[in-house]
Symmetry: C2
Subunit: 286 residues, 2 copies
């Protein structure tokens, strides 16, 4: 088996075993439900395999510590030692959902202090709370540059304008319908002070719902484009001949039989090779 | 001249003539000042040419009309006919700056109504006002896939994690330090109602300033990485022999003479070819 096929098999096996789990129990940490159809569609093509995916999400993130242990606040005047949106050093998600149905009144379970407008400028070390909508992102490993280019072009044509090809023919499919809103900060008593009103939080939550819907629409468009342009592409040179219902039924049957016969032949061939291999393996050294 | 060199020459000529203008008068519509050093550095490499750039900016955008002319508000219930963040149909920038020094109190010239919290849910056709910080973006056309891969890898290593290679070996260099905040909407009297307080607008403006600084830091890092890894890369195989000041001076002179002689030879060759070509062109048809 060549390296691509080998890699693909191991990825697809893992995906399918994960999907098995979903039906049983925990959907957490596994594949986003909305992505499953397009993942299966893409993986049905011999030259493509999905390596990661996120169907889109709303998250509320508390930034980590920004000040390095050997830096004091007064050292920060040149603004060179502050890391924006830092995930390390205690940054953590207060809320994450990939499911638009989980958005209604999500903040009711949280101890947010609304309408806290700091009178002075906040120090550079402030750990902000960021409300984000992040759209669909999909990584696809392709067998060669030619197939990567086709995947890239298909995504760009659907409006995924921030897509790109990376190393090893992995295509990242990205779109820019985002929200990135600083809504508050961690106050000196480690409480969540929000700059905004509850009405504003409701409003941006509703706008996230609109973006989830837009995102689903784009995902459907991408699915269709993959289907038509790549997976089930009809070669243009192929002549299309009109056929009656009966003719079609007969052709399907014929093609089905042909396929089955071919598979049988392949299996016989495999068995033959296996037998030969065993013969070679068992031969005493000469 | 091969097609890449031809394309590169025309782009560089245009850039340089634009830069000439800056010194004279209007900086508007031309190249961002912060980008000029990295553009010149990149274009000094024979296999690379910059095709577009933006050093980063703050913008306040009023969305265009979202409802198609043949659609009424009541048709919008399936949320399928609404375009989010639409630029067409009357969308326009209320404010744009690429210069962090232009941020202080920028809103004072505008007729914003602060603290207007709509009591009811806004209709789907609402034209929102979006406050955005968009970081550095740079497009570089490369001679071949090999040089595109090197550019891509260099950018990724500097944390420009949303970079990617597109068609024709054009690399897009992108980073994700953004802000994307719906701050208000166009009310029924065509006025700009903001959901937020003036203090909050000041706060996100200050956060944009931090992002401008972070962005500059990343730009400097990218500049250095291009310089060291691509433009002035010292071949690892090259043996470094210690030389005295005098030896160095002699070597420089020798190499200079060699270079001049080579250039002279090339020019003589060119003249010879030109003469031959003229001879061929002037020959009567046989």
């Amino acid at each position: 088996m060549d390296p691509f096929d080998q890699k693909k098999k191991s990825i697809v096996d893992e995906i399918e075993s994960t999907l098995g789990d979903i039906k049983d129990a925990s959907p957490k940490g596994s594949i986003d439900e909305l992505c499953i159809p397009i993942i299966r569609l893409i993986n049905s093509h011999q030259d493509l395999v999905t390596t990661s995916s996120c169907s889109g999400r709303v998250s509320v993130f508390l930034e980590g510590n920004k000040v390095r242990s050997n830096t004091t606040e007064s050292d920060l005047t040149d603004k060179m030692d502050v890391k924006i949106g830092g995930k390390g050093d205690g940054g953590n998600w207060l809320f994450v959902t990939h499911d638009k149905n989980q958005l209604t009144n999500w903040w009711k379970d949280y101890q947010f202090n609304f309408n806290r407008q700091p009178s002075d400028e906040l120090p550079l070390s402030t750990r902000y709370i960021l409300f984000k909508f992040e759209p669909l992102i999909l990584h696809i490993k392709c067998r060669d540059f030619k197939s990567a280019s086709l995947v890239y072009q298909t995504a760009m044509n659907c409006g995924f304008r921030e897509s790109g090809i990376g190393v090893n023919n992995i295509v990242a499919i990205r779109i820019s319908i985002k929200l990135d809103i600083p809504i508050g900060y961690l106050n000196e008593n480690e409480q969540h002070d929000l700059f905004i009103s509850e009405e504003y939080l409701r409003l941006v939550t509703n706008l996230s719902l609109d973006r989830f819907n837009e995102n689903e629409k784009k995902l459907a468009q991408l699915h269709k484009a993959f289907d038509v342009n790549i997976i089930n592409k009809v070669e243009e040179k192929e002549e299309k001949v009109w056929e009656s219902k009966q003719e079609r039924a007969e052709r399907m049957k014929r093609e089905g039989l042909e396929k089955r016969r071919l598979k049988q032949l392949q299996e016989e061939e495999k068995l033959k090779q296996l037998a030969e291999q065993m013969e070679i393996d068992n031969k005493p050294d000469q």
